[in-house]
Symmetry: C2
Subunit: 185 residues, 2 copies
């Protein structure tokens, strides 16, 4: 269990190219963003905002699926990953009121969330943070990194996920697109 703060303001590794409110309320504008994994949450910067989350245990992934993921999922911070996206999501009370097996069925058997995601590996690196138990505005913060040449594949991934039955339970979603000024040294 480790903590992350996404700090948006004037400083940060990532330049914010766009912030789109896909569903529900958006977030305020900012110039740059930093993803900081640290033992404590950071304060919001002056004139900016922050989102907090934790890396936590898996909630739906089964053993065989995890083995497939582990075999091909790439690390963050690859040299060629000059593009990134932060997608905060909040699901409805109706989603959270479902039993575990109902949520699992919607997540994978009906919506193929994992199976779709796997098709975009290793191009799109991903890290999921949980926020719901923290009482944050969003339930999840998902961070993605990819190379310039894979940006259109990432767009397609988002389109396919948003078209699923699972996504009918999403009541707030913001898409923040980011770019490093140059490839990592």
């Amino acid at each position: 269990m480790s903590r992350v703060t996404f700090v948006a303001g004037k400083l940060g590794t990532w330049r914010i190219e766009s912030i789109a409110a896909i569903c529900g309320e958006g977030v305020g504008p900012a110039e740059r963003l930093e993803r900081i994994e640290a033992p404590q949450f950071l304060s919001p910067p002056e004139g900016g905002w922050r989102l907090c989350g934790v890396r936590s245990n898996e909630r739906y992934t089964e053993k065989s699926e995890r083995e497939r993921l582990i075999a091909i999922q790439p690390p963050l911070d690859r040299m060629e990953s000059v593009c990134a996206s932060l997608i905060p999501i909040k699901k409805s009370e109706a989603w959270w009121a479902l039993a575990q097996d109902e949520r699992r069925r919607l997540f994978e058997e009906r919506s193929k969330h994992l199976s779709i995601g796997i098709e975009y590996l290793p191009a799109v690196a991903r890290r999921l943070y949980h926020s719901r138990d923290l009482g944050e505005a969003f339930d999840f913060l998902t961070w993605f990194e990819f190379a310039e040449k894979d940006a259109s594949a990432f767009d397609e991934l988002l389109r396919r996920l948003r078209d699923t039955e699972e996504w009918s339970y999403v009541e707030r979603e913001v898409e923040i697109r980011l770019r490093r000024d140059r490839a990592r040294d």
Copy 2:
């Protein structure tokens, strides 16, 4: 998602009868305890301690199991419930590293956690709070309430659960036994 603070010190509805470290480190002594569900966490009282948690979505319970539970589970704060217990638990990293289906199988198919619990309904009322994503010392705080006449059934419930394969993943457990001075008015 609502927050709870268990505040242990000199004040509170519940008199602490005993604090037993079942596994791993215990918690400090205190005279009384209060369970406070409120929008914000409370501070620890002078010379005492607190434990924080949240009511959150179910992690293992399936639809059919929930229907059985809902049909017979009693509310908290029944007039005859003069006995209570708070059991904070921390599971090992090995538990949390398991995939969802592996944890579910250990929890119910192999250890009968829900099935055993249901045998003690409606005598033993129960409420589960999650603490792990908060970065607290424990992963769960479970609160139980029951009548004097059901105290030995509650002891039996604890013995049976501690004898399961699931409990081999428990690395810290404290059993706090409590009593109201008199039945609720």
